[in-house]
């Protein structure tokens, strides 16, 4: 198999398969959450649950001062690499073109050197997060193989993308194919691991805000 065959494989049937597993898996995960429902609440509300839920959905992007002081590394590094990853995913020219050809919607992209720099920062952030996970007593205590697995699949997507862009792996179709393969692994792993938090965290935040909001507390 030539490197071009490999690239065509990753862009063709593997991509289709990964997308299908991702989409079906994610729908199953979200449905199996929502079908559990909630018991009827007989207590007279003090505030509005829906408003509280929607507000918390947004407000958890901000950290309260006390928590920031207690965990500045988590907040700063976590925010940086999450935002970096999302920018590289959604605002890199070839990614915007891929989304346009797949979904038919497009938006302006960022210049390549900007995305390049952001990707480098994201990679550093992810490495720092791994070191923190290995060193911090609470994180090390809580961490399971799954936590390291999802770190690895996330890191590999960003790393292979960075290497492909800089043409470090030769020939180029092999480098690009490896990046696409890494993205496919990410998509396939997502529904079966806590990578689902990318989607379910918003459901969780809504419920948290709704539970507190009903009692008149903005959480």
């Amino acid at each position: 198999m030539t490197s071009m065959d490999f690239l065509m494989l990753t862009k063709g049937p593997l991509f289709q398969a990964a997308l299908a597993i991702f989409a079906i898996g994610l729908v199953v995960r979200i449905v199996e959450i929502l079908v559990l429902g909630r018991a009827h609440n007989y207590a007279e509300p003090r505030g509005n649950a829906v408003v509280g839920g929607l507000r918390t959905l947004y407000k958890r992007f901000h950290t309260d001062a006390g928590t920031f002081k207690a965990a500045p590394f988590d907040v700063v590094v976590g925010t940086i690499w999450h935002i970096g990853f999302i920018i590289a995913l959604l605002l890199f020219i070839p990614h915007v073109e891929l989304i346009e050809s797949t979904l038919g919607i497009a938006w302006p992209a960022l210049p390549n050197p900007v995305v390049d720099a952001i990707t480098a920062i994201t990679l550093l952030g992810l490495m720092a997060a791994l070191v923190h996970r290995l060193m911090h007593p609470v994180k090390r205590f809580l961490s399971t193989p799954e936590d390291y697995l999802i770190w690895a699949v996330t890191f590999l997507v960003a790393l292979t993308g960075y290497l492909a862009y800089h043409r470090v792996i030769n020939p180029y179709p092999l480098g690009l194919g490896l990046h696409i393969l890494a993205a496919e692994i990410f998509l396939v792993v997502l529904p079966f691991t806590k990578l689902t938090h990318i989607f379910t965290a918003f459901i969780a935040r809504y419920y948290n805000g709704a539970i507190f909001g009903r009692k008149g507390v903005q959480s």
Binding site: Y42, E44, I203, A204, N208, K215
Partner: protein, 449 residues
């Protein structure tokens, strides 16, 4: 009934013959799984930030006290039985199972090192309401026979005698007589059709009898019609602390029965945070029925009276006062502004703790920790966070509105030889009422009220 209550089945009346078992515990946990729980477990990435919000972790530095870790048995059950992926894994023999040994190991984590204060629920970046899940996890612990002795004893006493401390009406009656002779006012008992049924907590009756005298004076002053009920004077609910919906329902039903019998429109929960969340938020769900009356914490009632101009005070406390918000009242019930408005009425030099209101730190005694003798050491350890907060603002006295918090503050401050008295807000208000026979009083308005 008395005999039945002393058997394990009493803590789960629907199947008294079988007693506690792992299977019953797991079944109780299954019944607690809902969409919020599934979304929370799906979202946790083990960042550990909940630990930074927990006084038990912060003051011991032991990672096992990380809030999300306390829920591991419940998470395993959820993954194994409520996710397709988990069911596939268990069908081929993969994955951990929840065992009786595991629940035994988790008992101190779910009870001794958690006051269900809910602070972790406020800081989790993915939005997990951990306190909501701890409350649910305890249902499984009770049904599997893994709850602390102290809480079982309190629950049995509450069902048998009406009070978790075994207090009888006789004791309260003696206090009523004392209050009547020292205040010259009547303490109404079993009065039909009044506006408010007043509930008390046993802790308050024993440790802080001044509360009853304070509300007697304030209500006479403001012209509020109220009553105590001989049938039901206890507001706390041991069933909710230990985690038994069945016991909770029995105890709530007594309050509902007394309120209906007396035909009152409102029920007042005393200076007790737990009692308020128990009766205000959990009670109707325990009996699966909306109440035919409203429930207020005493602080809400006093604030309403203040806003209506029915409380007339004179003079102010001149020493530096600070305030401890009970978790159950502030963070878990949204009563935050009310106590501050009341403080403004009677305090000249009031300073809030830096983190207060919905982000206040727990005193360390709530959620059944104070009824669980085994947790004594952890309870004092967790208090150190509160102590540090108090040291930051250097008050001369602390004010609070929960008998459990107040007892913990008093004991904790004494343990660390800090000479800071703790007072209840209701008494403080009563101390400043304008005397009715003084010319400053407005008799016309009072009779109208």
């Amino acid at each position: 009934m008395t005999e039945a209550v002393l058997t394990p089945g009493a803590l789960a009346p629907e199947a008294p013959a079988t007693g506690f078992s792992l299977e019953r515990g797991l079944q109780a946990l299954r019944e607690e799984m809902d969409a919020p729980v599934a979304s929370f477990f799906s979202s946790c990435v083990h960042c550990g930030m909940c630990a930074t919000a927990c006084p038990f972790y912060v003051e011991t530095g032991d990672p096992k006290y990380t809030p999300i870790h306390k829920l591991e048995p419940m998470r395993i059950l959820w993954e194994n039985e409520f996710t397709l992926w988990g069911r596939l894994k268990t069908s081929v023999g993969l994955g951990r199972k929840v065992t009786d040994e595991m629940l035994e190991e988790w008992e101190p984590l779910l009870y001794d090192s958690c006051s269900m204060c809910g602070r972790c629920s406020m800081v989790c970046p993915v939005g997990n309401d951990l306190q909501y899940m701890i409350r649910k996890a305890r249902e499984g612990m009770v049904a599997s026979g893994h709850s602390p002795e102290g809480l079982i004893a309190a629950s049995v006493r509450a069902v048998n005698t009406g009070s978790p401390m075994g207090l009888k009406w006789k004791t309260l009656d003696v206090q009523i007589k004392h209050v009547e002779s020292s205040s010259g006012l009547e303490v109404p008992v079993d009065k039909q059709g009044v506006d408010y049924l007043v509930l008390l907590s046993s802790m308050e009756i024993i440790n802080f009898p001044e509360y009853l005298e304070a509300i007697t004076k304030i209500f006479a002053h403001a012209g509020v019609s109220w009553t105590l009920s001989q049938k039901c004077f206890e507001a706390t609910n041991a069933g909710i602390q230990i985690g038994s919906k069945d016991i909770a329902a029995v105890l709530v039903q007594r309050v509902v029965g007394a309120a209906k019998e007396l035909g009152v429109k409102n029920v007042i929960s005393p200076e007790c945070g737990h009692a308020y969340t128990a009766i205000r938020w959990e009670g109707p769900n325990a009996i699966r029925q909306a109440y035919p009356f409203k429930v207020f914490h005493i602080i809400e009632v006093l604030e309403t009276l203040r806003a209506e101009g029915r409380i007339k005070t004179e003079g102010k406390e001149t020493d530096r006062l600070s305030m401890h918000d009970p978790c159950n009242l502030a963070r878990k019930s949204g009563v935050i502004r009310q106590q501050r408005n009341l403080m403004d009425l009677i305090a000249e030099d009031f300073v809030d703790l830096k983190e207060h209101g919905k982000l206040q730190w727990c005193c360390g005694a709530g959620g059944g920790v104070s009824s669980n003798e085994r947790a004594e050491e952890l309870k004092i350890a967790a208090f150190k966070k509160k102590k540090a907060q108090i040291e930051e603002v250097e008050p001369e006295r602390m004010v609070t509105m929960c008998a459990t918090c107040r007892t913990q503050l008093e004991e904790g401050l004494e343990e660390f030889t800090m000479d800071i008295p703790v007072v209840g807000l209701t008494e403080l208000i009563a101390d400043h009422l304008v005397e009715p026979d003084e010319p400053a009083a407005a008799p016309a308005e009072e009779t109208k009220a």
